[in-house]
């Protein structure tokens, strides 16, 4: 990810300084508004940009913050602003649990329904919200004018820098994995649910804070603050500025505030122009304007240096045995696994063979928690992991690689390195040699032997029985979800049933 360089730091610090020293109150007001929208957008980048969840409740949470400030300011004064943050974050945390389990379009719908509910409350619960007229004359005790401008921008600069630092670090990498390959992320021990909840709540908190500031700025709060137009403004400004660039929220907000002034003579036309610009950015500049600026001034993302090969965990730490006992997994009427039992110990390599559709990958999926067994038990030593979610199993020391499932610009090597980076005791490898050259195969055998000698237990699925015989201490053969043979490679290869079913040889030959 791009670091927040000097160039952008200047862009970030200049507006409030210029506004405070040079601009008339009207100009200061505009700069304050830019800061407010940028704060809301900054939060939105976390959930939408980095975690890829289309949250349509951000505008409503902005409104919640505004109303909370208006209601609490008479009694709490300036403390109403942090209270607004807490109110929005609290609502997000309350509804976040069930909502975040939803797939993309259902999540969008659910957040949209939530936003519509908030809007209905704002319009109709007059006793609390003042109905369509809204609330006014609550600003005594709230920061206003130049003070408000300073507070807003200090918040923006501090939080923006924190967000930029987070995104550049390990957290940004994990978020990228979650967004691009959620299943892979789970098998690396990344708890997607917890991440999304954290992102959703953080986004809500920033929206609430922004809403509180906007209440202080305008001095009135009406149901419009919870309306869909704020949401659309937030979404479009983040997209326009750049959904993942640290400065995207600020650029988008500046346009959202600046365009209406530039196009003031055309009245409603500015929103039209804004929407057209957003569509154009989605189609032709997916990195947004901030990305475009970076490209124009020649700042490219810093070159990724190859990470060092992670050291496997010390041979004596962690569980000693991975046991699969009588596991059954059905898909509809088909038993993909019909009572399979195998044991994998540390310091051994077991090869898993069998014809297509015999249940090899399903077995790996069930062990790593991507699918859950209908019957039977899977345990690390005596600790059952049968019904744990994938990320928890990964954290207990079982890593895996996938069949031909490389992210952009990766090599076979990276995949294994990523699996090892979780510090596993056991690694499940799904066809690691598929498509590899002879030379690469030799390297792979060397690497895997090294891992075994370092004390890892490996379960390797592959079709290349020569390779597996060379590599493995034991071979296990599956056929139609049943265990056909389990033993030293030479024995298994000599087994007449294995020869008939898998090797395609006549049993008598």
């Amino acid at each position: 990810m791009r670091p927040l360089g000097v160039f952008w730091l200047v862009v970030l610090v200049l507006p409030p300084l210029v506004a405070l020293t040079l601009l008339a109150p009207f100009g200061q007001r505009m700069v304050t508004l830019v800061g407010i929208y940028a704060l809301m957008g900054l939060g939105y980048q976390l959930i939408f940009g980095h975690l890829g969840a289309l949250n349509l409740a951000q505008g409503a949470l902005f409104g919640v913050g505004a109303y909370a400030t208006a209601l609490l300011a008479p009694s709490l004064g300036g403390l109403a602003l942090p209270a607004a943050l807490l109110a929005a974050a609290g609502l997000a945390a309350l509804v976040g649990g069930p909502l975040l389990r939803l797939q993309s379009h259902y999540f969008a719908l659910a957040t949209l329904a939530l936003a519509s509910l908030v809007n209905l409350v704002a319009v109709h619960v007059e006793a609390l919200t003042g109905g369509a007229n809204g609330l006014a004359s609550f600003t005594v005790g709230l920061p206003r004018g130049p003070v408000l401008l300073a507070v807003v921008w200090v918040c923006l600069i501090v939080l923006g820098s924190i967000a930029a630092a987070l995104v550049r670090g390990r957290a940004g990498e994990q978020a990228r994995l979650l967004r691009q390959a959620p299943l892979l992320a789970a098998t690396l021990g990344i708890d997607g649910g917890r991440w999304r909840l954290a992102g959703f709540v953080a986004a809500g908190a920033l929206a609430g804070l922004a809403g509180g500031f906007s209440a202080a700025l305008s001095g009135v709060v009406s149901p419009e603050a919870t309306g869909f137009s704020i949401m659309v403004l937030c979404l479009t400004s983040v997209v326009l500025g750049g959904t993942r660039h640290p400065m995207g929220a600020l650029l988008g907000a500046a346009l959202a505030v600046g365009l209406p002034e530039l196009l003031r003579d055309f009245q409603g036309a500015w929103l039209l122009a804004y929407a057209v610009a957003t569509l154009a950015v989605v189609l032709w500049a997916p990195d947004g304007l901030a990305g475009l600026v970076d490209r124009l001034r020649g700042a490219t993302p810093s070159e990724r240096t190859a990470p060092p090969w992670p050291t496997p965990r010390a041979a004596n730490a962690g569980p000693r045995h991975l046991r699969v006992e009588q596991v059954i997994k059905r898909f509809g009427g088909v038993e993909a696994l019909a009572g399979v039992s195998i044991t994998l110990a540390r310091g051994e390599i077991v090869g898993l063979i069998g014809p297509n559709g015999s249940g090899k990958t399903t077995l790996l999926n069930v062990i790593s928690g991507l699918e859950h067994a209908d019957h039977g038990r899977i345990a690390l030593d005596e600790r059952p992991i049968t019904s744990l979610p994938a990320h928890a199993i990964a954290q207990s020391g079982v890593a895996r690689t996938f069949q031909a499932r490389l992210l952009e610009g990766e090599t076979r090597h990276d995949e294994l390195a990523r699996a090892l980076s979780t510090g596993p005791a056991f690694v499940l490898l799904d066809e690691p040699a598929a498509g590899a050259t002879d030379r690469e195969r030799d390297e792979l055998v060397e690497t895997l032997r090294g891992l075994r000698d370092a004390g890892l237990g490996l379960l390797v699925v592959d079709h290349d029985i020569e390779l597996l015989s060379r590599l493995c201490d034991r071979l296990v053969c599956l056929e139609r979800g049943r265990l056909l043979a389990d033993g030293p490679p030479s024995d298994v290869r000599a087994d007449p049933r294995v020869r008939a079913s898998f090797l395609g040889l006549d049993a008598a030959a």
Binding site: F48, G52, L54, V95, P98, L99, R101, L102, Q103, S104, H105, Y106, A108, L109, A110, L112, A113, L114, S116, L117, L120, V121, V123, H124, L183, F228, V232, L235, T236, V239, F266, Q267, G268, A269, L271, L272, Y274, A275, V276, T278, L279, V282, L283, P286
Partner: protein, 276 residues
């Protein structure tokens, strides 16, 4: 019944283009607006305007998809979401600039007023909506289930690579579905526009109802969408008769949240499986 037309168009576009079209509600409003404008200009009754509006919106529907959906097919679904939301805003703002925010009335389908039916006063427009809506739904059903064209449309939406592999000109059928979706939006706009007036800001509301209907009825299922839309209509009518409009909407959104929390895959499940 008019909701059913909105939802039907929504789900056709969804299946054809493989993406949620957030601008669908605004296409409905656009249909209403075209009806208003054409009605004022030509002075023709609703029945005559109907095919005209449908034709105009069919073209608009195709253009909309060409601009905001098909170019983004290879990108994550969020990209299409944003693009169609932007498109919705463009239509809404364009209409606002063109005709202002004040609601207008679209021409009635078969004259306004009411007539007595077994002692009950029945409005002409609601009857017209129900009759025309049912006819259209039947026609679509016949098209999809009983004709070669419909079979091909379904094949394309189920698996476009396979459809192409057996020699169906996929592009043409996607286009046909999108045109049909646009035309349905136009008709719905005309029908709703007389009863509930036409205002640029209504789009989001129509869109949300259609979205709910499709999500509840089973993502991508045509009969499910119809059932969902009828369910929403009945639900709203009943609750608003008892407690008022605001409560009806609130109860609807709340039940959507509850249903999604309990059954994340919608009430009737998802026929197409997870889109990973």
């Amino acid at each position: 019944m008019a909701y059913a037309l909105v939802a039907l168009g929504f789900v056709l576009a969804l299946n054809a283009a493989g993406a949620v079209n957030f601008a669908h509600g605004d296409l409905v409003v656009l249909g209403g607006s075209v009806a208003v404008a054409a009605g004022a200009w030509l002075g023709l009754p609703g029945v005559v305007l109907l095919p005209l509006v449908a034709a105009v919106l069919a073209v608009v529907g195709v253009i909309a998809a060409r601009v905001a959906i098909t170019p983004l097919a290879a990108r994550p679904p969020e990209a299409t979401f944003v693009a169609t939301i932007a498109l919705a805003a463009i239509i809404e703002q364009g209409l606002t600039v063109e005709m202002g925010t004040a609601p207008r009335t679209a021409p009635a389908l078969a004259g306004s007023g009411a007539f007595a039916l077994g002692g009950l006063a029945v409005g002409r427009q609601p009857i017209a909506i129900i009759v025309l809506g049912s006819l259209l739904v039947l026609a679509i059903w016949f098209l999809l289930e009983r004709t070669q064209t419909g079979r091909r449309m379904r094949a394309v939406s189920a698996d476009r690579h396979m459809a192409r592999a057996v020699g169906i000109p996929v592009g043409r059928y996607v286009l046909l579905s999108l045109a049909l979706a646009g035309a349905l939006a136009g008709v719905a706009g005309l029908l709703l526009g007389h009863q509930f007036l036409v205002a640029p800001t209504q789009g989001a509301g129509y869109m949300l109802k259609a979205y709910i209907a499709v999500a509840m009825g089973g993502w991508g299922s045509v009969p499910g969408a119809l059932l969902g839309a009828l369910g929403i209509g009945v639900f709203e009518t009943l609750v608003s008769a008892g407690f008022g409009d605001a409560w009806a909407s609130a109860a609807l959104y709340l039940s959507v949240l509850v249903v999604l929390a309990i059954r994340p895959q919608g009430l009737f499940g998802e026929p197409v499986g997870r889109r990973a």
